[in-house]
Symmetry: C5
Subunit: 102 residues, 5 copies
C-alpha cells in the first residue's frame, strides 16, 4: 500500500452501473517522509475518509477486497485512515499534529 | 483509476474472439491538473464515451469487472465519463466548461 | 493495452508444461504516434501475428483471458492485430501503408 | 518479489473491517546489492518480522496468498524473513553480519 | 514476460508455510539486446534453472499458474529457460554461444 492525502473529488454521472453509490476521491501520493510525490490516484473510498485525511489505498485486484468494492471495476481503494506512522523510531506524521511534515 | 481524454480509435479485424463487439479507444493520461502526461492507453469502452470526453479507466483485473468486459482479455477499461473534478476546493476541469485547463 | 510491433522470437525447450505449444514473440512497445519507446515484452501469441505486425497485447491476469492462454503462466498476450489507428482525426498508422510513421 | 528492510509502523484505527488484527509495516526497498532505492511500501506482515529485519514482500494478488491475508485488501505482504542472499558467488548480506552492505 | 539471467540465491528460514520447498533466485533483468538493465527480481524457480541461465519469468497472478506455485504468495516465477532469441532476423543470444552479448 501507499500513503496518500485526500485532496479532491471526481463527479461522474455516466458510469458503469456497479460504480453507483461509490465515492471517487483524488488522492496525492506521499513518500515515506510525508512529502507529496507528484503522483495521484482516483480512488474509491471504502472507509469514509474526508478532505485532508491521510490514508492508505490498495491497488490492483486487492482494491476489490472490501465490502463496498467487491466485484466492482476499481483498481484503487482507500482501505484505512492513518492516525500516524513512524520511521526509524521517529514519528513522521500524526493526525493529532505531532511529528514532522504535516 | 487515472484520468484520461479520449483522442482516437484502434481498428482491428483479426483479434481474440472474445474481443469482438468491443470498441477500442486511444486515451491520453491526464495529471491531477488536467494536463496530458505523455502516456497513453488503448482501452475498451464500457460506458459509451466519445471523442474528447474526459474519462476514468481502470487497469489490471479490475478492467474486467464491467458487464461488457467480463472474462475478456482487456487490461484497461473506461468505466466512467467525468463531469468534473476538484482539488483543494478548486474546480480543475468541468465538462460544462468551468474550471481550468480544459 | 499497449501498441507494439512484433520483431522476434524466443526459443525455449525447458519450460513449464502448460507453456508447450505456445509461441513466444518479442514485441517492441510503440507510443501513441507509432514510435518505438525502447521497452519490450516477450508475449504469447493468441491470434497468429507475424513478424512486423503491429499488435495489441494485454498484461497481468488479462493475458490469460484467451482460448490459448487460459490457466497458463503468461503475463503478456497478443490479443489483436492492428489494422490502423487514428489520433485527433489523423490516421497515425495503417497496415495498408497509409498514415504516418510505419 | 523485492528485498526490503522493515523501518517503521503505520497506526490506523478506522480501517476496512477485514484489515483488523493485521500489522502494517513501512519497508524500504533494497536493490540487489542491499542499498536502499528510495522507494517504500506499507506492507502487511504475515511472518512476524521485526524492526530492522530484511524481508521479501509479494505484491498484487499474490499478497493475499498467505494464511493471514486471504481475502483481505492488501497489495503488499511480507512473506519471508531473509537470512542471507548472494550474487555471483558473493554473499551480499547476511543476518549474522557476514557480507556487504548490512 | 521479461528476459533475465539467474545470478544468485536468497536463503530464508522464517517464511510463509506455503513457500517451503520453493527455491528463491535472484535474477537480473535483460533488455531486448541481452544487456542488464540494472533491475532485479527475486523469483521462484518452477523449471530447475541454474546459475547463469537466461530465463523468462512471469509476474503478478500469472506467477502462480505453474504446478509448483499454485496458490502460493509469489509475484515472480521463472517459467522457461531460454535457448536463444532473435530480433529483426539476428540471433541476439544463444545458450550454445552463438550470437551477441552472451
Amino acid at each position: 500500500m501507499q500513503l496518500a492525502r485526500v485532496v479532491g473529488t471526481v463527479v461522474s454521472t455516466v458510469k458503469e452501473a456497479r460504480m453507483h453509490e461509490l465515492k471517487l476521491q483524488v488522492v496525492r501520493l506521499l513518500d515515506e517522509q510525508g512529502r507529496e510525490t507528484g503522483a495521484y490516484q482516483v480512488a474509491v473510498d471504502a472507509v469514509g475518509a474526508g478532505h485532508g485525511d491521510v490514508v492508505l489505498f490498495a491497488g490492483g485486484s486487492s482494491a476489490r477486497q472490501t465490502e463496498r468494492t467487491d466485484g466492482k471495476p476499481t483498481d484503487a481503494t482507500i482501505m484505512a485512515i492513518v492516525d500516524s506512522w513512524d520511521v526509524e523510531g521517529k514519528v513522521i506524521w500524526s493526525a493529532s499534529g505531532d511529528g514532522g511534515s504535516s
